[in-house]
């Protein structure tokens, strides 16, 4: 019976969401942009595939037994990389739009008092509201993925089982990101007396964790890591290696220094290289810890691991010239386990705060 009551609330909330003008407009926008970017992504994928086939043919013609280089087969997951950028913006807005007035509106219209006069516990109401919101966001995400897969099939791009699994994981990670902002909006809706204030508070948090926090992370990294080590005065010149991975409006740049040895190994340079490595890792650790509080950064990191494991491997191993083998999905996800955990912890903390506040709320 208790579950029936919770489901009753969740069913009503889900129905309210998917029939609300606000949800329909933002979802439609999300789907249209998604469709266009998937279409473009498929075009790029086909071009890459064509180039890959040509390279393979050339290699067969050359028949060089000493060449260890092999062209890399493009993955259809590249198609989903562009999804990340609008998911962090439009998806975030969608999540905020369905959550910011879930409780405050009930206070404003006094429907909460009517609801609470019937046999239902407060925790069933707030859990039902959360469940209804999660279901609505899940529905939106499922719709976006279904359209993407349908388009792949229409253009005769058939995902393998591994790729299909990666698509599902990408969907789950994206949903996790949406839940982060839904949870923030729901908390603010419970804390604020008016929906307008709840929206403002939510947007402030949204911009703080998406823009300010990464900036603070960089500043903290500079402040705590100190100055980079000085290279030895004599010896071979260091060569800067700059790797840039770009995707959907995001750019990750890892800068490292490698040393060109003149045939002999200089102990001073080896020591310098070790110091530099420690310095860069220290900076990255501080920055990464700070970024764990940002759902955008966590989403970006995890989604990149799913859609483009090789770039993630390069980002995480700046001192290796290139990973010899393309890392598997499980390996890539293993590297970003802290970001996955953060994507789970972030909404959980806000849901818990909402629960506590709602249970103690004065309903006079």
């Amino acid at each position: 019976m208790a579950f029936d009551r919770l489901l009753n609330v969740a069913r009503k909330e889900f129905s309210d969401h998917i029939t609300s003008r606000r949800f329909i407009i933002i979802l439609a926008l999300l789907l249209v942009i998604s469709t266009i970017s998937i279409y473009e992504g498929i075009g790029q994928y086909n071009d890459s595939l064509e180039s890959y086939t040509e390279q393979l043919q050339q290699m067969q013609e050359i028949e060089d037994p000493y060449s260890s280089w092999m062209p890399q087969k493009p993955s259809i997951m590249y198609v989903f990389i562009s999804m990340m950028s609008y998911m962090t913006m439009l998806g975030g807005i969608l999540a905020i739009a369905i959550g910011f007035d879930l409780v405050s509106k009930e206070k404003e219209t006094r429907s909460l008092k009517s609801l609470l006069s019937h046999p239902v516990y407060r925790d069933e109401i707030i859990n039902g509201k959360a469940l209804g919101g999660v279901a609505a966001l899940g529905f939106a995400m499922a719709l976006a993925l279904a359209i993407a897969i349908a388009m792949l099939l229409v253009f005769s791009v058939v995902p393998t089982v591994d790729e299909f699994a990666a698509i599902l994981i990408f969907g789950a990670v994206s949903l996790g990101f949406l839940l982060a902002y839904f949870a923030v909006a729901l908390t603010m809706s419970t804390v604020a007396k008016e929906s307008g204030n709840a929206l403002i508070y939510t947007l402030v948090i949204f911009f703080a964790v998406s823009s300010l926090l990464p900036m603070f992370g960089m500043m903290a990294a500079s402040a705590f890591a100190g100055d980079p080590p000085e290279p030895p005065e004599m010896g071979p010149m260091p060569k800067e290696i700059v790797r840039t991975a770009s995707s959907g409006g995001y750019y990750t740049t890892s800068v490292s220094q490698d040393v060109v040895y003149g045939g002999t190994e200089d102990p001073a340079w080896r020591a310098y290289e070790e110091e530099m490595k420690t310095y860069v890792e220290k900076r990255r650790f501080i920055s990464d810890v700070s970024n764990l509080l940002s759902p955008q950064m966590n989403y970006f990191t995890v989604a990149m691991a799913v859609t483009n494991p090789q770039i993630m491997a390069m980002v995480y191993s700046p001192y290796d010239t290139a990973p010899e083998e393309t890392p598997g999905l499980a390996g890539a996800l293993g590297r970003v386990w802290m970001n996955i955990a953060a994507l789970i912890v972030f909404p959980s903390v806000f849901f818990a705060a909402t629960y506590v506040k709602f249970m103690r709320m004065d309903i006079r």
Binding site: T109, S111, H118, D362, R364
Partner: protein
């Protein structure tokens, strides 16, 4: 049916309800009177299991509300003051949502909702509750309070938004519900409203129960004290002569009219005395304390 024992609710160090002891019998229509801010709504929120008391306890049909609020909610109906609904749903959909919490099957829900909408004259209204007038919302509120056919009905300022016809229908409905054996608890600051339907009343002021009983009992209890004296109003056609009686304590004269303050009811003796003096009596009655004045005095405290 309803009992409170030393019921107390404190907000920010201030007692909104202070040691309330109240008893309402089964089938009674009880009027809970008091000025705004007296603690009436807070008391109702505790009785309906929506907030927990700071001290004391309250029982509805023998069930302690704070210990088993859900069980209490299953047997009560509550019409909150300024009732609200989901504006994106019709009246029928709102009622259906609430009815589902009682485990009613689809057929039963449909029948009950149709019956209630007809009762409150909202049958056939297709517009969303967000477009309802305040009076319509109040009537829908009454329907939602009755969705589970409750044993006890709590109504908080039930006629606040109703037009005269709505008020008349509401009064008929309350009397009919009491006729079915339901207990009705009406909270209001409007004396005339309570007077029209309630059999017993309780007067609350600053969180404390000032008096409880029938309206006359409460008025007598709260009237300015003359000890056990009786006020007898006399009006004659001719000049009112001086009347002698050992029971008379004081006389306020005004031409042919006078108010005698007597130790007992001496109307028979006064009538005989006036008759023997050939004076025609136009009016002779015991003056009851004016209930409006008594309540206003409490409200102004």
């Amino acid at each position: 049916m309803i009992r409170t024992e030393n019921l107390t609710k404190v907000y920010n160090g201030k007692a909104a309800v202070d040691g309330l002891d109240l008893e309402v019998g089964e089938g009674d229509i009880f009027g809970f009177l008091g000025p705004n801010g007296a603690g009436k709504s807070t008391t109702i929120l505790m009785l309906t299991g929506m907030i927990e008391p700071t001290g004391g306890r309250c029982l509805v049909d023998g069930i302690e509300v704070a210990k088993d609020p859900l069980k209490v909610k299953e047997i009560i109906g509550y019409l909150p003051e300024d009732v609200g609904f989901y504006g994106n749903m019709t009246g029928e959909e709102n009622l259906d949502y609430f009815a589902r919490f009682y485990g009613m099957d689809a057929r039963k829900r449909k029948e009950r909702i149709a019956e209630l909408l007809e009762l409150v004259h909202l049958d056939g209204v297709a517009q969303k509750a967000g477009e309802y007038s305040r009076g319509m919302k109040q009537r829908l509120g009454l329907a939602q309070a009755l969705i589970n056919d409750p044993k006890v009905l709590f109504l908080d300022e039930p006629t606040a938004n109703l037009d005269p016809e709505g008020v008349r229908e509401y009064r008929e409905l309350v009397l009919a519900l009491a006729g079915e054996g339901k207990t009705v608890f009406v909270s209001s600051h409007i004396l005339s409203e309570v007077r029209a339907v309630c059999r017993t009343v309780g007067l609350l002021a600053k969180g404390k129960l000032v008096a409880q009983g029938t309206l006359d009992e409460v008025a007598r209890t709260l009237a300015p004290s003359d000890g056990d004296a009786v006020r007898i109003v006399v009006e004659t056609r001719e000049h009112l002569p001086a009347l002698e009686d050992p029971e008379i304590v004081a006389v306020e004269r005004n031409g042919n009219r006078a108010v005698f303050l007597a130790k007992t009811d001496i109307r028979d003796r006064l009538a005989a005395s006036l008759f023997s003096q050939g004076v025609h009596v136009r009016e002779m009655r015991i003056e009851e304390p004016d209930i409006e004045d008594v309540f206003m005095a409490i409200y102004r405290r």
